[in-house]
Structures are given as C-alpha cells and as structure tokens.
C-alpha cells in the first residue's frame, strides 16, 4: 500500500450490501464489503463464481444488474456518492470516467454496428471529441494495443474479427474517454492461453501508460498475480482478506486463500502403456474429416488410447479436438481413415454401430447446464442409459441408479427425485459422469469437463474421475485447453493445431524440452503464480512476437 497516498483515493466503497431477487424474496448477495482504490492502482478481485466479484464491479459504476439492488452502504467515486446519485448523474460518469470491459467481447459488441462506431459512441456523446477525431484516436489506441491493421480493423463488424482482437478492441473502447477507472470483468477467461497472454500484456501496458486505476476481476490466480498491485479475496459475498500482491502470494493468512493457492497441487503418478501386446481400446487411424459443405478440419489424425489410461488432447479452440471426438462417437463420419475398437474397425456412422459399440462412445460435456435436460429427474437421466444398454428394469434399475449415485459421491436418497436446475455446477457435472458410467463403458470422452467450474470444484471432479478410473479400469480421452489439468491427470498428451497432431507422447516427455514450437508456445503461455512471469515471457519472446503468436 506504500505506493499510494491517502489523498489519491479514487473509489471508496464502505459496507456495500447488494441483494438479489430469487424465489420471490430478496437475498443478500454482497454482505458488507469495503474497498479502497487509489488513482493508478490495479486491484484484483478474486473468488469462485457466486462470490460476488462481478456484482461489486458493476456496483463500482453505481450499476445494479437486473434483479439486483444496492441495499446498503456507500460508494464514493471521486467525491460523488453513487448510491443516491440520480440516473442521469451516474450515466454521465459511465463511459467517460468509469469504463467497463466485459468477459466476452464477442457478446458485448453489438453485432449490428461496426467496431469503430461503437468505440466513438461515448466520446461523441460526451462531446469530448468530434467523430473524426474520435476515429483517429481509436486507430491510435488500436495501434498501441498492437491490433493488426489499426487503420482498417475498426471498420469491420465484430463477427469479422477474432476473439482475442475483439477483447483488445474492447479495451481500446474502454480507453476512448481516458477514464479514471476501468472495470475488467474476467476479460481473458474466454480466450485460449496463447491469445490470453497478449491481451494481458496489452491491458497492462495501456493501464500503465495512462495511469488508469482498474478493478481486475478474475478467478484465475496466476492471471491476477500479473495484473494487480493489490489482491482482495472474496467468498460468498464477503471479504476473506486483502493484501498487496506479493504478500498475498508469499504469505496468505486465511485458510480459504491457502486452499485456493494449493488447488493446483493435485497430481497422480503417470501410467505407461501395457507391454503385453494388449491392443489399444480406441485407435484413431489417419482420420480426415470435414463438416458438410465446409473445408477439411481434421488432417491425418492418428493416436491410440490404451485401457485404463488418460490421453489428454490439447490445443486452441478450432484445432479439431472436439471434431475428433465426434468422429470417435460416430456423430461425424470421417472422410478417410477409421476408428478401431480393441483392434477392430467400428462402423463410421453411429447408426450402423451395435449396442456394444455404442456403449463405448460415452461423452461428458463441458456445459453440464445444457447437457442435462432440466425437466427430467436425476433418476431418469441416469436410469435411461442403464435401461437402454443393460436392459435393467424395476428394482434392478433403481438399484443400479443408486449404485451410480454412490459412485459419484451423491447420496441416492437425496438426489434421486431432483431436477438438474436444483443442483450446483459441480453436482451437475457429477450427474453427467454418472450418465456416462450408466452405459458401463470402458472408454469415456471428457470434453472440457472442468473448464466451466471453479478451481476447487474442478479439482473435486478430477479426483472423482481419477478414482473411477482406478476402480473401474476406464480409459479417458480428455479434451482440454487447460495445461494445468493435463499436468495433474494425463498419462499421455496429444497436441493438436489446425486439425493436425503436431506432437504426442507420454506426459513427462511432453513437459520436458525440447518441444515442437507450437507445444512450446502453448506451454509457455500458461500463466504462472510468479508476478514477474508475464514480464519475463514477454522479454523472452520479444514484444513484436506476441501479436504474431496470437494470430497463428
């Protein structure tokens, strides 16, 4: 706190209370949080989903989302009390003195207008600049944020620009009026690691250059370590602790903070392939694939998955990971090549496969929310595949469902009759796992199963998957872009890029140099807890390389 003097206080929140309207009543979601931010200071707000980070971020602009209300406390921005300011007074601050950068730039840019028109909206509205001046300024900001073709890119529509570029364009938009404060609400969560790094660098640069204060909201500790001067940890609408970044990393005081720090510690020993000539349970052989009417998305993909092992398939979005899974399950018949099950070729289309072959192609999805029918009871969600594949009925079926619920560590009597929306994210994902297990497969495809979950919850799911693997001898194909997950549970790694396998092998080898250049890029882009990490990586790569790296 030494860097900041008391007279430089920009935002002071005292005893903030916010309520949300659910089930016909108002429930406290923020329970008395204090926050002090100085000019030029970057405060990291971290916590799990539901901790109230975004709600506090919006409240710092005097904004309560639909269905929430600020019910108590004070929010003072540069001498203006926002809790009792009029709508017009608050509106006059937004965009001009306090700006907002949202999680998904793709969703937060209006699809109907050009990027630069959205950029110039606030400065023109506030009469800070004339339209043409604002456009010039936008181009300059685009250049500073190292967007390619800064003179031209703004005249595109949002869907014509990649996600990482959009996120930088949104940061530029937030800068348009040179605000005193920017709220960054998980600005890199939706990006690939290789893209994330350049957005982080761009944000850090620009905040430094203009000495803008920022509230940086994220659930990723390693990210916040790069960005923030001060870190505040939240849990269920209450502050756990606050300290300078270095102090927080070196010497966390509270148990909860320590558990967050320790969460990436789960690791199990690596297994190796059987040596007795057992065939792989699933072998992908020289597969080419394309979606109807589209270009080729898989190009000569081959890898083997042996019984009882976990093969992690990593790569950026669009690299063909999920498409490979669709080929294995028979949802997308390959153009060329084949899928072998225990050495025997499987029919390309799922419709031509036997019940026993179908049984082997079980999937667990990223979004348990959308993968479970909200109107169907848990007992039926799990019971149906058990009935379909094993022909169980009546008491036997009920027994089997109970057994499956036991396996995923949910008490059968409590969950049997419930519906998915009544469960938490982690519980839903467990139901997704039980549904896959109900078919009694030897092989399961896990498609980004932990990406939508908080770290503590995700760790629980990984441990569960690991235990099930040991108990039931399952093989997993684990699709992920999160290398920390790979480190903790994979036996072998397949790296994909542009629909090709660029490198594959046992995990330990993959994490030891020398790597394929792309693997190297992926690995070195994963943020580390060291606050100096970003600076070091940028230096190693040379600043000019960053933009190129992201556009690969």
């Amino acid at each position: 706190m030494t860097r900041f003097a008391k007279k430089d206080i920009l935002l002071e929140i005292r005893d903030l209370q916010i309520q949300g309207y659910t089930d016909e009543t108002w429930i406290d979601i923020i329970k008395g949080v204090d926050l002090t931010l100085h000019r030029g200071e970057v405060l990291g707000l971290i916590g799990e989903s539901g901790a109230g980070k975004s709600t506090i971020g919006a409240a710092a602009m005097g904004y309560a989302r639909d269905g929430t209300r600020i019910s108590g406390g004070s929010i003072e921005f540069d001498g203006i009390e926002l809790t009792n300011a009029s709508q017009a007074e608050k509106r006059a601050l937004r965009g001009s003195r306090i700006a907002y950068v949202a999680q998904s730039a793709a969703a937060s840019f209006n699809p109907a207008h050009k990027i630069i028109d959205q950029h110039t909206e606030a400065p023109v509205h506030y009469r800070i600049q004339k339209r043409l001046e604002a456009q010039e300024d936008a181009m300059e900001l685009y250049e500073r944020l190292r967007l390619p073709n800064p003179q031209e890119i703004g005249f595109r529509y949002p869907h014509q620009v990649s996600g990482g570029q959009l996120q930088r364009a949104m940061t530029a938009m937030a800068m348009a009026c040179r605000p005193d404060l920017i709220i960054f609400d998980e600005p890199t969560t939706a990006l690939d690691v290789t893209t994330q790094i350049e957005v982080l660098a761009a944000i850090r640069d620009i905040v430094d250059q203009f000495n803008t204060a920022a509230i940086y909201i994220t659930h990723d500790l390693a990210v916040v370590a790069q960005m923030a001067d001060t870190i505040k940890v939240l849990l269920k609408g209450e502050e756990v602790e606050e300290a300078s970044t270095k102090e927080m990393l070196d010497n966390p005081q509270e148990d909860y903070t320590k558990s967050l720090w320790a969460v990436r510690s789960f690791k199990r020993p690596q297994k190796s392939r059987p040596t007795d000539g057992t065939p792989p349970i699933i072998a992908v052989k020289n597969v080419d694939a394309a979606y109807p009417g589209g270009a080729k998305v898989l190009d000569d993909v081959s890898f083997d998955i042996y019984p009882g092992m976990t093969v992690a398939v990593v790569g950026e979005s669009g690299s063909g990971k999920s498409t490979t899974a669709r080929c294995i399950t028979g949802l997308l018949p390959p153009l060329k090549g084949e899928i072998l099950f225990k050495g025997d070729p499987m029919p390309a289309k799922y419709k031509d496969r036997s019940l026993d072959q179908l049984r082997q192609a079980q999937m667990i999805y990223q979004m348990a929310d959308t993968a479970l029918n909200p109107k169907v009871r848990i007992s039926e969600i799990i019971g149906r595949p058990a009935q379909f594949y094993s022909g169980l009925k009546g008491t036997a079926l009920k027994q089997r469902v109970d057994e499956l619920l036991d396996l995923i560590e949910l008490e059968p009597s409590k969950y049997y009759d419930r519906y998915p929306p009544e469960l938490s994210g982690g519980q839903k994902q467990r139901i997704g796992i039980a549904r896959a297990l109900a078919a009694e497969p030897e092989f399961i495809i896990c498609d980004e199963v932990t990406s939508a979950l908080d770290q503590l919850v995700a760790e629980g799911i990984l441990k569960l998957l690991d235990r099930l693997q040991r108990d039931l001898g399952l093989a997993y194909m684990f699709i992920t872009h999160d290398l920390a997950t790979v480190r903790s549970i994979a036996d072998e790694v397949v790296v994909m890029q542009h629909g090709k396998v660029v490198e594959q092998g046992p995990k330990e080898e993959m994490f030891t140099p020398p790597h394929h250049p792309y693997t190297d890029l992926l690995l070195s882009s994963v943020p580390e807890m060291d606050p100096e990490w970003l600076t070091t990586v940028l230096e190693e790569r040379g600043v000019d390389n960053i933009g190129d790296a992201a556009d690969v």
Binding site: A58, M61, Y63, R65, D66, R91, A92, L93, R94, G95, S96, A99, Y100, A102, Q103, S104, A107, S108, F109, N110, P111, A112, H113, E121, A122, H125, Y126, R156, Y157, H159, Q160, M173
Partner: protein, 318 residues
C-alpha cells in the same frame, strides 16, 4: 454479397415451388366440390345433351391433370379463363376488385406499420409503466374484438354521431385521390386497429428479449441514454422477428378483410370470392385463391429476404 444473392435466389425458388404445390391443391380442391360448372351455367332445366355439349366446349371432358396443366399454363400469363356465371373473363371480374383491395391494404399499412413500430419502441422503453399497461390493454382489446364490431363502432362514432366520414366506402363515380382517402378512411382505420396491436406487441417483445444481451449492458455501461439503447442497440438486432410479423399482418390485410369489406360495402376481392363461392363460379374461386396464395408467399418471401438483409453476419461475410 454473392452468398446473400444465392440465399435470396434459393428462397425465391422455394417460393415458386410452394406456389406450384398450392396451385395443385387449389385446382383439385375445387374439383372435389360437389356440382358441375356446365350444370351450374345451364341451370336445372338443361337436357343432358346440352350439358355434355357445353362440357366439351369448356374442355371439362378432358382428364383432370390435362385440364390442370392447361389452366396453369394460361394462369401463368394472367389468363384465368372465363367466369362461369357472367361469361366475362375472370381477369375482368376480379382485376379491379384486387386493385381496390391492394389500395385499402396499402392505406392501412402505411399508417399501421410505422405506428406499430414506433409504439412498440416506446412501450419497450417505458416497459412496466402506466403507459405500457394502458397500451397493452388497449391493443389487447382491439386485437380481441372482431373487426366487424370495430367497424360498426367506428361507423357509430365517426359516421353517425360525428358525421365526419362516410359509412359506406363505395367507389362509384370518379374520385380524386383525397376524396378516395376520405371515403375509405373508416375501413382503413378498422384495419389499422386490428393489425397494429399484433405488430406493436411483437416489436415490444423482440426488443425486450434483447435487453438482457451483454451488448445492451455494455451500451448502458458506456453511458448511452435509455432511448438510444433501445433505438440504436436493440432495434437493429430485432428486425427479423418484426419483419416477419409485419409480413404476416400485411398478408392478412389482403386476404382476410372480407368482413370489413362487407361492413363498409367496399368492392374488394374478398367479397368477390365469397360471391363466387356461393354461385359455384369455379374459375373465379380458383383465380382468387391463387392470388391470395401468391400474396402470402410473396410477403413471406419478402420477410425472409428482409431478415437476411438485416443480419450483419450475412450482409458482411468474413
């Protein structure tokens, strides 16, 4: 732009195909009706020989598919045959009527469409306010009252109590354009009341539906004033559903106005169709049905094309 053109041509192709299928349905549905055109023309007293002779003369002794093809090939060039009742060409019987209907529909549409969209935007902006509720109640009332009832109410107030407009919208004699507008004002107003509600409510719903989008929140957090959030950020993304409901209502203005025509004694195509059905004037029934079908298909096609053109992803491909 090439993609958009391809899409539009594809829709056009589907539209023509649909029209073809509908023409088959219309022709054979009329075939199934009891009664016989030759018999209807000659009356009950005719001898079987004269009926048979007329059947041959009209080509009714040919098998149905052949008659269909000959009917279709003539219809394509605008020849719908001869009215079985009056012996005049069908085009003469319904041509002028159809133009009258188009006039009334355009009159109503020119008022109703802008009114509905502007009102829709205003109630979306003032949602849950007193104005919104009053507008909701009024539009619900007008949408759920039968149009003949609305017509009579308007006649009562604006033709009887305050004799500002004529109660009967006959188009006899030569009328100047302002006279024409004055004379057809009440039927047009009736139609406006009937269709505005639907379009306004859809505009409101389409806009409100978008208000939860992240880009709307972004606009609010940029300090954009509420009316501008709606007009500039929500409306441009709400066109597709609005255009659809507008097209549906325009189609109704042309094909569903029989009752209003009857109430105001307006010489439109709806009345002509009803007359033709009661007189078993099959050529007229077929022609009118085909025109209605073509109107429906054309308007839906326009809506589809409009939806395509307002989608930036399609207008500006990567």
């Amino acid at each position: 732009m090439g993609d958009v053109l391809k899409l539009i041509l594809k829709r056009l192709g589907y539209g023509l195909l649909t029209l073809l299928v509908v023409s088959i349905l219309i022709f054979f549905a009329v075939e199934l009706l009891p009664g016989d055109t030759a018999q209807a023309i000659l009356g009950q007293a005719a001898t079987p020989e004269t009926v048979a002779a007329l059947r041959t003369q009209l080509g009714l002794d040919q098998p149905a598919p052949i008659r269909y093809l000959s009917w279709l090939s003539h219809a394509v060039v605008g020849d719908f045959g001869v009215s079985a009742v009056s012996g005049t060409p069908v085009v003469q019987v319904i041509g002028g009527r159809f133009i009258n209907t188009l006039f009334l529909a355009s009159y109503a549409a020119v008022i109703a469409v802008p009114l509905a969209i502007i009102l829709g935007v205003i109630v979306a902006l003032l949602r849950n306010s007193v104005f919104d509720r009053v507008a909701n109640v009024l539009t619900l009332t007008s949408i759920s009252s039968p149009e003949f009832f609305l017509g009579y109410i308007l006649i009562l107030f604006f033709a009887v109590n305050i004799p500002a407009f004529p109660a009967i919208a006959s188009l006899s004699g030569s009328l100047s354009f302002p006279e024409l507008l004055h004379r057809t004002f009440l039927p047009a107003l009736t139609l406006v009341l009937v269709v505005t509600a639907h379009m306004m409510r859809m505009t409101r719903a389409a806009i409100i539906n978008l208000l939860a989008s992240p880009y709307i929140e972004m606009a609010r957090l940029k300090g954009v004033p509420p009316w501008k959030v709606i007009v500039k950020h929500a409306l441009p993304n709400a066109w597709a559903p609005i255009i659809n409901v507008v097209a549906l209502n325009l189609a109704y203005l042309i094909t569903g106005v029989v009752l209003v025509e009857v109430v105001f004694v307006y010489p439109g195509i709806g009345q002509a169709l009803v007359d033709a059905v009661s007189k078993r004037d099959f050529p007229v029934v077929q022609a009118a049905s085909l025109i209605f079908a073509a109107t429906f298909i054309l308007l839906n096609l326009t809506a589809d094309v409009g939806a395509i053109l307002t989608n930036p992803r399609l207008r500006h491909p990567k």
